[in-house]
Symmetry: C2
Subunit: 233 residues, 2 copies
């Protein structure tokens, strides 16, 4: 029943995935074929896309390989031809996604400094969440799991993404580097954007993007903690 599958068209189906510019950056960059970041094509991509869509609502263990095969329009055997196990399928999916995120953040920051850097990072992360909410949901639910076979590599990439924030923070607020708290503050900012971004997409999708970005930046601008600034520690 090959009729179910698109006839190997859509091989480079990059919808909603990585913006053209960053895609170019990825291909031109030093990321070789075979690394987790190399963009899969054809069947492999169809499988990854289907997996992501299903996992976003049903979670990882709630998603069955049979469903993935059906959604991707391939036979179950193809899943195991392209990925050695369910675990590895999800590992590749997450590593690809989080890896791309780190790239995007680095690109967004460029050589901006201080406030501009943070604003650019928040905006880029928000856009990424908006363009790929499925991955955002998946990240939110997997990032603190400690029983996965792939946790080590996922943690590493997660750390890479957070580091982009942490560096910008350390620069904007040098005393946080002394206290070693830039990592925590990075998490804090990351969590703010992730949670507000998902709130937006899930509960108030009609709201314009800029309003959401403004609200997040507002909540990070101390307006909430108005009056006197906290005593510098």
């Amino acid at each position: 029943m090959t009729g179910l599958r698109e006839p190997s068209t859509g091989a480079i189906d990059s919808r909603l995935w990585v913006s053209g510019a960053v895609l170019a950056l990825l291909l031109v960059g030093s990321i070789a074929k075979g690394t987790p970041m190399a963009r899969a094509t054809g069947t492999k991509r169809a499988i990854l896309d289907a997996t992501l869509e299903l996992a976003a609502t049903k979670g990882i263990s709630g998603t069955t390989m049979d469903e993935v095969a059906e959604r991707a329009g391939v036979a179950k055997g193809s899943l195991y031809y392209n990925f050695s196990s369910k675990d590895r399928l999800f590992e590749e999916l997450l590593l690809e996604g989080v890896g791309a995120l780190a790239e995007i953040l680095r690109a967004a920051r460029g050589d901006l400094r201080g406030r501009a850097a943070i604003e650019a990072l928040v905006g880029a992360l928000l856009d990424r969440i908006a363009s790929n909410p499925a991955l955002a949901k998946l990240m939110a639910s997997e990032i603190f799991r400690t029983d996965r076979t792939w946790q080590k590599s996922l943690f590493a990439l997660r750390h890479e993404a957070l580091t982009v924030f942490a560096e910008a923070i350390a620069e904007a607020k040098p005393e946080s580097r002394d206290h070693g708290t830039c990592g925590l503050m990075a998490s804090s900012v990351f969590g703010a954007v992730l949670m507000a971004g998902l709130e937006w997409l899930v509960f108030e999708p009609e709201r314009p993007r800029d309003e959401v970005a403004a609200a997040i930046l507002d909540s990070l601008s101390g307006g909430l903690l108005g009056g006197d600034r906290p005593a510098p520690r």
Copy 2:
């Protein structure tokens, strides 16, 4: 083999769950027996505790009823005697947890205003996460799922908890009420505390609690976005 079970001792086993003060508040308050917030005792509590511990690392679909039964030290049948299905077991667990959170936040805010209110809320949420990381992880992974039978009631309680933040924000920053963005800002602050709190517990548990609270408040104090305040919209 009745020997396996404790002889109906440990009936009111409240370890790590709700602090004594808040427990008193719950019992004295208007929350009647039979509502989701009523604290289960005996077998039911043992089952809920076991479920939470397992679900924190393995997720909901990754947790089997057989495991829960074993960990709780009861027979599988007892699970179904006390809860009509796996779904309802997890529903009760989540509703109990999120409901208690809303109570705690309301109590923490008291009639504080402005900056003090926000600081109290952030601190209370952080403490709650620290005293029950399992539930925090579970919340982080379930709060945006849209395929659960219980999503409606969970969303309602979630909204209740966020509203406590939103109200404090609306008061501290009246113009956000006009824009209808206090909900988003509440999510943002909530996400910041949740993510940073879990980062702390999972990756740097040796750090003192106050340092974490300070880092979070710092990230919400505009230090990051130093220099000029953003133009009020």
